[in-house]
Amino acid sequence: MTESTTKNTEHESSVVRKHSNTWRVVDIVVAAIIAVASGVIFWGWDIVCAAPLAIFGAVTPGFEGLLNAFWLFAGPLAAIIVRKPGAALFAETLAAALELTMGNQWGVGGSLIVGIMQGIGAEIGFALFAYKGWNMLSTAVSGALAGVGCGLYYWVMNPAWGVLRSSIYLGTSVISGALLAGVVMCLLQRAIAKTGVLDRFESGRVQTLV
């Protein structure tokens, strides 16, 4: 009996496990940690970008949306790592709240409210796949929809903008969201999984056993 079980587990775990959608404590904590790390980057980007964004926004009609991805990635990244419904919204909101508490130029509206809208966008991305697709495509869709959330917010917020400018802004947000918040985050998740720290998660399980 010992023989056969050892054989079974020789190289890769042969037990096929069902995906569970209930949150464990570790899911919450890790999603929060990703939110924290992202929040710090959001905030750093607030500062780094204050000048470029202004210049970009000033000399091009709406292309500064391309810079938005750095505020969009928390949701898709957390979701692709912990793989639970709500992870994207949770992480993006928390990250935005943290960005806000650290103090930035946008206050509650431009950090928290927009964060929630981005989070909802990112969440819809995974919901479209019924929380079953956890791959590059779903992450990219999620990132793109986070970009939509962001673009919509600024559209509403900037009544002074013309239609052309708003549309370009929306479009560029979506593109940058899909690329950086989607594709790049999916790659990042794979790199993290390689280090082995995700061994308590489904996302970190595809490894040869030691």
């Binding site: 775990s13 569970s20 061994d199 056993l209």
Partner: protein
């Protein structure tokens, strides 16, 4: 009140491992019994403790065999009945303030507010943190203080099953006594069931009424599994030799003595009017010298500042004033003789540091790479670096974990890896913070030999330690770090 514990042919395989950490474990523990759990480093003690506390996780985390029952219910569903103090003190500080952290467990049990605070204060006093204010930041704690805090948090819960995983590994001798007394008092008063894991058996002999020994981890037939179970006198009497061979610190063992061959050589490192501390000077105007071929032990109470001093000596923490200097001929070309200002590459091969928390030191994702990093950065070829790595792994008994992730090792295995990876760079000065905690007798003896080898090869070894046996085995020079007499 205590609860009963039953293991029925229980086993666990971590998700990233192909072998079971332990298997076919069976025992029955009565309510109120006090059990000492023994076994070599890597035998699966911590895994069993986590299983009993119901925190091993579910199918995502590994594969379970058989049953673990706490008071008749599956351990996984019995969370809150048991309180576990984990082996790694660093990962257990949960909240930002000391008082809140000690109160956390009680909150989870749904106790009334006044009782929570009363228990929190009581348990902090019991573990020797009576000088600590409730609003002290948990960020600014030394390794030993963290361990005490974690213990306080668990003791305050008065769980039916008290699980302590090496509760005294980082404590000073006085702290060991304090913790022992505190635990003893608590279990005698409340009748809680106690399971404690500790390599140094002597501490708990007068408290426990039963010893359970887990088998050696390698050697297939013995994977996990209980190899001895019974009253201490019976187990040690009947099985003394087997246990000794298996690496247990059986009472009354003679330790290997490795005195230095000759007199200490030249001074290789010295502190020159040094002030050290983190933002605020702990010690000032320190002048000490460390010699080639000599082992120096820094001892002193928890939280006095040994680790801070060690980091400063290793050139990793900027001195607040003064300098740490090396012998002139060891100073790299075009650099001032001040270790703190050197480049990282200059430190390599000159000064090495083994951190108190092994995990703080890991920079790669495999055990083998971890050791090879040093030799590689020193310009050795990959082949040569891995040859050194394999040799080292063999000596510290980690060979089978070569491709494993350093973070997934057991507590004692991590410690050995962190020491081995620093030794591989063969520094002229080796600073080690608690190099031997969490080791069983066999691995401990091997560590002593390793340190002796480094010393005899002409390096200066500085070790922060609470391990008296280690100091004696190496005939180390002793420096006591102590608080000034308080003037009023």
């Amino acid at each position: 009140m205590g609860v009963s514990v039953q293991a029925r042919d229980w086993g666990w395989r971590h998700a990233s491992r192909k072998d079971f950490a332990l298997r076919h474990v069976s025992f029955d523990i009565e309510p109120g019994e006090r059990v000492l759990l023994l076994g070599a480093s890597g035998a699966g003690k911590s895994t069993l403790m986590a299983g009993l506390a119901g925190v091993l996780g579910g199918d995502d985390d590994g594969e379970q065999e058989g049953h673990l029952l706490i008071g008749g219910a599956e351990a996984r569903t019995a969370r809150g009945i048991s309180g576990l103090m984990l082996q790694d003190p660093d990962a257990q500080t949960i909240l930002e303030r000391v008082g809140d952290d000690a109160a956390f467990g009680c909150e989870n049990l749904g106790l009334p507010k006044d009782e929570i605070w009363q228990r929190a204060r009581e348990s902090l006093d019991m573990v020797g943190l009576d000088y600590m204010r409730f609003d002290h930041s948990t960020r600014k704690l030394s390794g030993g203080q963290r361990q005490r805090l974690a213990l306080a948090g668990v003791l305050a819960m008065h769980p039916g099953l008290l699980l302590l995983d090496e509760p005294t590994a980082n404590l000073d001798p006085e702290g060991v006594k304090e913790v022992h007394d505190a635990v003893k008092r608590v279990v005698e008063r409340t009748g809680e069931t106690l399971i404690v894991v500790e390599h140094h058996i002597d501490v708990w002999l007068d408290t426990v009424d039963r010893v359970i020994v887990l088998g050696k981890p390698d050697g297939d037939s013995l994977v996990g599994g209980v190899i001895a179970d019974g009253a201490p006198s019976k187990v040690f009497g009947a099985m003394g030799d087997v246990l000794a061979a298996g690496g247990a610190w059986v009472p009354g063992r003679t330790i290997t003595h490795c005195p230095p061959a000759g007199q200490p050589g030249e001074t290789v490192l010295h502190a020159d009017d040094l002030s050290f501390g983190r933002g605020f000077p702990l010690g000032e105007h320190v002048n000490i010298e460390f010699h080639a071929g000599e082992v120096t032990a820094l001892t002193g109470r928890n939280g006095v500042g040994k680790s801070t001093l060690a980091l400063t000596l290793a050139g990793l923490l900027k001195p607040l004033a003064g300098h740490v200097r090396m012998a002139e001929h060891l100073v790299p070309a075009h650099r001032a003789n001040d270790v703190g200002t050197w480049k990282s590459r200059d430190l390599l091969g000159r000064v090495g540091m083994v951190f108190q928390e092994p995990e703080h030191q890991f920079v790669t994702s495999s055990v083998r790479d971890e050791i090879a990093v040093g030799p590689k950065s020193m310009g050795k070829s990959d082949e040569e670096a891995y040859r050194i790595a394999d040799e080292m792994l063999e000596r510290v008994n980690l060979k089978r974990f070569g491709p494993a992730n350093p973070f997934t090792l057991s507590g004692g295995e991590k410690r050995r890896l962190s020491v081995a990876s620093m030794l591989a760079a063969a520094p002229k000065v080796l600073v080690m913070d608690e190099p031997t905690f969490g080791q069983d007798f066999t691995t401990w003896t091997e560590m002593v030999r390793l340190i002796a080898d480094v010393r005899d090869a002409g390096s200066a070894v500085i070790m922060v330690t609470h391990d008296e046996a280690l100091i004696e085995a190496l005939d180390a020079r002793r420096i006591i770090v102590s608080e000034e007499e308080q003037h009023d």
